[in-house]
Symmetry: D2
Subunit: 330 residues, 4 copies
């Protein structure tokens, strides 16, 4: 009844720390599957059945194109089927992927963000990881590529869960057991204190309450665990926070763009220690752009055509910073 999430339920049932999640996860999954979004997911699952016979023996999770299987493993008809399937599962926000040789070019070249942060964070080998707002899971595969012991991602969007399942169902069973994407929002997580590293990338500015978000992330970490926080920032001092009057870069739901020092201050106030800025970077149209699999507006359309350092509303153009911070140990 919880397909395809039974394996994850088994995993947490057998885990001392994660098992407390059982008091609400099954009900949340049931609610999802009964919701309109869940119906959408079931519809995508129908589409995924076409790929049931595909098994990817070769994986490469350590390069820009996260890739599964080789082109020569499948027939020309299957190649055609995959290309059509990509289009039926549009838009592709995060990527790029290569699945049996068929490339999926996504709006974001997500490896650029990954390359900027991977040197600055605690190595992931052997760690249990949570990725909040994981999209279709691109970075989750990269985490596995770094040797993570287990990667759990959450994102409430049915399409992203389905895009993730496309690849997951093709990989060997031992790998399937290590990587799980659940269609949930962060407010659905109890205080698990079960993850060595928690990622929150591209989420904070959408939240109405920055404090609550940072607290919720903290409650997922083991004592001494590491937060990796990526979000948009503006210039300014410790007391500077931009709350857009209306839209920001055409997005209607942006509530919080702090300065770097304001956010550092808030992380400290929320109880984190060893707060470090590991990267700041203005987003470019090389990193975020329209593709054949994401055909609506992208960054270029969100910026002032005369001045790419400004959004179309006149705010400072998106600049993204990555922080690490540590939860206090026991």
């Amino acid at each position: 009844m919880f397909t395809p999430f039974n394996t994850f339920l088994e995993t947490i049932a057998g885990d001392r720390q994660l098992s407390r999640w059982l008091t609400r996860l099954p009900a949340d999954l049931e609610a999802f599957l009964k919701s309109a979004e869940g119906q959408e997911f079931r519809r995508y699952e129908k589409i995924l059945e076409r790929t049931r016979s595909l098994h990817a023996d070769t994986l490469n999770l350590n390069q820009p194109y996260v890739s599964f299987g080789r082109g020569e493993d499948i027939t020309p008809g299957q190649h055609q089927m995959l290309r059509a399937l990509y289009r039926e599962m549009m838009p592709w926000r995060k990527g790029p992927y290569e699945f049996f040789g068929e490339k999926a070019e996504s709006e974001w070249r997500s490896f650029m963000k990954w390359d900027r942060l991977i040197k600055g964070i605690t190595p992931l080998a052997g760690r249990k990881i949570l990725d909040v707002g994981c999209g279709n899971g691109y970075h989750m595969w990269r985490m596995l590529g770094e040797g993570a012991e287990r990667v759990v991602g959450i994102d409430p969007c049915a399409l992203f869960t389905a895009q993730f399942e496309l690849f997951k169902r093709a990989v060997p069973e031992d790998i399937q057991k290590k990587i799980h994407l659940l269609p949930l929002g962060i407010e659905q997580l109890p205080q698990l204190e079960a993850f060595d590293t928690v990622f929150s990338m591209g989420v904070l500015y959408h939240r109405r309450s920055a404090v609550d978000h940072l607290m919720q992330l903290q409650s997922q970490l083991v004592p001494g665990g590491e937060l990796v926080l990526e979000t948009m920032v503006i210039e300014g001092d410790e007391q500077t926070v931009l709350i857009p009057k209306d839209r920001y870069a055409k997005m209607p739901n942006i509530w919080y763009i702090p300065s770097i020092s304001s956010l550092e201050n808030l992380l400290n106030r929320c109880g984190y220690i060893n707060v470090k800025l590991i990267d700041v970077c203005m987003t470019t149209t090389e990193e975020q752009r329209r593709t054949e699999l994401m055909i609506t507006e992208s960054l270029e359309d969100f910026l002032d055509p005369q001045d790419h350092t400004r959004t179309i509303e006149g705010y400072q153009a998106p600049t993204r910073a990555v922080f690490t911070a540590q939860k206090k140990g026991r």
Copy 2:
């Protein structure tokens, strides 16, 4: 079983708009009465029984000392009893009151705030009012004095509820029906859309999420209704928000002190219209100070002894602003 809140439950049961509250208020009151805080309330109610025979025929709700009854209405023994009772129900934060001639001097001279705001807001005569974080209800009596049709206050503190009940139980029954203090937090209010004016005074800086608070207040207003918002502000531009690193004026739970224009911006972003600043004022030790009925530290101890424009932590000293804003009409 809900004593002393049965009358209020009757009131909302008979009100088209407020009756939707019945799906959760009885359970919330039951939970309160069973909680430790509720036990505390029952303990205070025992104390209140001593005043059961007191009936105040004369009220004066339009002067600094909100007063009930006259000194000559009660015996010298009762005068002595009241003075002892005041001390058993310390601390008195809001006031002052005069109850059968016995004055209760509170930490705050709350009439000073009232006098600053009353000229700037829509007259209260005939309106239904909600006061969020109402303390012991001083301003609620003043609202009634202005001719409000019904005043509902919420504050989760048992002591404040009991201080309010001390006076309420002595007033005539027709007045009792118009004024109600419930031991609740704002997160326990469903979307009522039932009040013409909603007051939130001295609450916003304690909230982890300013946006959620402003949204919750809005959902209590009828279309076109008025918010009266009082909170601490600092100097700065539209992007200025102070989040204290730790304590502010020795208070551990201050999360949000915006500049005036930053808060105006946020009110607009949250959908309010006609946002107006009606008063700004630095709090003085004349307004907030230690008294015989509030014997712990007060404002004087929170400020830099050398420089009363600074808190003891070095922040700008408390400056309070009052805004009005309107919910959009239909």
Copy 3:
């Protein structure tokens, strides 16, 4: 939002004993109104709007035809409207009624049951009464006629609630406050211990658990209160209980037909005292029969055409007994 049940909610909010019902009744009413049955009720309420201008000044609640208003109070057009409305609100199980002179002939001549029991029970004057499985409320009006202080009936059927409302909305307001029919099943009642007399007539044989039903009824009574229990019985000794193999008198949902002494034994076992049999009577086709307002099968069709002492399945024909029993006092 709870229309037409707000008045009852007000009533219980102001009642020490009944107010505990507030922790679930509003939610139950909300659930009813959102259910398919509730939609049905709203549909009937539309029909009832036609009678909005009718006000019955004269009531006669102490005769076989429970009657409201006089024929001469309304116009010929209104008479016609009422006759049509009766037909739109078929079937009429309980009655008969006379509403502004228009007679509603129901399947049951319910006064015959009333006449058999009224002499045997504790007089109802001044009592608070609950009628479980009250149908359209015929007996509730008779209870009011006997001087009951307040009558509450429950029956989950939307049609019966609507038939009741037809009459209730026409009576003077002071009477409306005394009589309430709620669309609920008995399992939705918390332990109220609030009623002086509880009626359960024609319900017990439908219950899967006789013990639970008798216990639930007991938990509605004040200590020392009286149960009036009417149900079908068969001949036999203290250990005789008929559980029909399938249908009984064509009814599919009959689970429990005990002998008189078996039921007396059960009442005692459940903790009742002073158990008394006050009437036994074989149901006749004079009492229960097809009418113009109940046009499907009735008793005659349920009996063996050759032998009216047998049901069509060969069981003993319906014999009904009335018991009174008392809840222990404190």
Copy 4:
């Protein structure tokens, strides 16, 4: 947090049919562990720690003494420890057991009941089994001895769960995965439709509602599955049911003792097919008696000293019947 029930939670998470139980089992287990009964269980678990080093390589589940390990596997000190532990975990209702040579003589010689029924039921090899009201699990071990694929028992009593865990923790891990006792009542089971055989032995007469119990059992069976029902019966025809006026054989909570044909009738009415009586037997003082590990009253004290065919209250002495019945197939 659910120790020692995590393994079972894993089991159901991975089972298509049982996984629906996840929407309530974790919450029920959490509630149990927080309850007084759960505290009692934790206290017994402390005692069980003494046996942590015991591993039983040899099991014999097909003889009257269900036995684990051999006497020579443990030291004289451990023998002494076990004997003391038996006494600390009194009373022993079901058995007998032999644990590393130490015999636990229980009130019931439970193999006698087993021997009477095992020939009459569908062979258990390869079946998934539920035992409702399983006591300390004696019959569950016998079911495993018959080759059952998985055995789940429920009984709300902490002591019985602990007695079961004493043995379970000593057996090899692959066997541990097949047998599970949960501290639950039957009303806590959702409709699982997951078991090939469901046992209810010695439970029905304690239930207030025989119909609800039989329905609940049915909803646990797969279509075509088998119910094995053992309960007390009296002599009489299809309409005979004894409801004791007060106690029966000194037991205060006996609600339902039907005749054989009355119970057969009820099973049919509840939708079972192929109802068969496979054994009837008056309980003897050889089968149920006081032992050193059950030192309070037993059957002998419950019977009329002059006439062992009567209980001390004068009812027919306990006679027990075993029925099998089948749930309809699809």
